[in-house]
């Protein structure tokens, strides 16, 4: 029955990867909205690239967190 603990680890790691989908949606949302705004007002687009990258970094960081949770479950628990 010690396999049960391991089962839990693997299941948890797999479930944690679902979080990456959320990050994907988030990054896509940021980039898509930026593109929509940039096409509407191209002159303002260049000044907002920094904001774009910050937004993408924040969204992406959450996906990395879920990846980290998966790694921790696999290796560190």
């Amino acid at each position: 029955m010690e396999n049960l603990g391991q089962l839990g680890q693997y299941l948890g790691a797999g479930l944690a990867c679902i979080g990456m989908a959320g990050a994907a949606v988030g990054v896509g949302n940021v980039a898509g909205n930026y593109l929509a705004g940039a096409l509407r007002n191209p002159s303002a687009a260049a000044s907002q690239t920094a904001t774009l990258f910050i937004g993408m970094a924040f969204a992406e960081a959450l996906g990395i967190f879920s990846f980290l949770v998966a790694l921790l479950l696999l290796f560190a628990v």
Binding site: E2, N3, Q6, Q9, A13, A16, A70, L74, F75, A76
Partner: protein, 212 residues
């Protein structure tokens, strides 16, 4: 990827000297059991499954990171950044200097053009003046020549007229003497005595109307 990584979990066992695995396929069960035993026994070592969480290397990494960052910060703030900043501002200065020089040259070119235009206008005026002077001189000479020619023509005309006048008077004299001679001869023939004075007077009277 996780599904692949998960295979690496039981590995700890291989490193723990307590268990030796010969065949991985049939060792899976043992490995799992042993892994948990090992995890319980050596909590620190099980964390080494992820190298990033191996606390024993943290001191080393942090020390060398701080050394690297300190060196890099020192080099950048003392040497590299002032140098690049200096180069950039030099370039800015050179560009503004060049622009000013270009402006100056433009000004000079404009002045040169104005001077050239002025010289051109002067030369043209001078040329006009010379042309006018020459024209006047030529006119004068021409006038003189015409006057001289006129005078000559007038002199010749006068001479010719005089000669015509002479010819005419001589012709009148000739006609008169012929008329006198004829009259005398006639009078003589008709038996009259020819009085020279009377004949002359009569002929002159007659000729006065005819020859004038």
């Amino acid at each position: 990827m996780i599904s692949l990584l998960q295979q690496t979990a039981p590995v700890v066992v291989e490193q723990t000297e307590t268990v030796t695995i010969t065949e991985s396929a049939d060792a899976a069960g043992h490995a799992a059991d042993a892994a948990h035993a090992a995890a319980a026994a050596h909590g620190a070592e099980s964390a080494a499954g992820m190298p990033q969480l191996d606390i024993s290397t943290f001191g080393n990494q942090i020390f060398w990171l701080l050394v690297t960052l300190a060196v890099l910060y020192w080099v950048l703030s003392r040497i590299a950044l002032p140098r690049i900043g200096g180069v950039l501002s030099d370039r800015q200065g050179a560009i503004t200097g060049d622009l000013m020089a270009a402006e100056e040259f433009k000004q000079k070119a404009k002045e040169a053009e104005a001077a050239y235009d002025k010289a051109l206008a002067d030369a043209r005026a001078e040329a006009n003046k010379i042309v006018a002077a020459n024209k006047a001189e030529i006119q004068k000479e021409l006038d003189k020549a015409i006057a001289k020619a006129d005078a000559e023509i007038a002199a010749r005309t006068a001479e010719s007229e005089k000669r015509i006048g002479e010819i005419r008077t001589s012709a009148v004299e000739d006609a008169r003497s012929v008329a006198r001679d004829v009259t005398e001869e006639l009078v003589r023939t008709f038996g009259g005595t020819s009085d020279q004075a009377l004949v002359n007077e009569a002929v002159d009277q007659r000729l006065k109307g005819a020859l004038q």
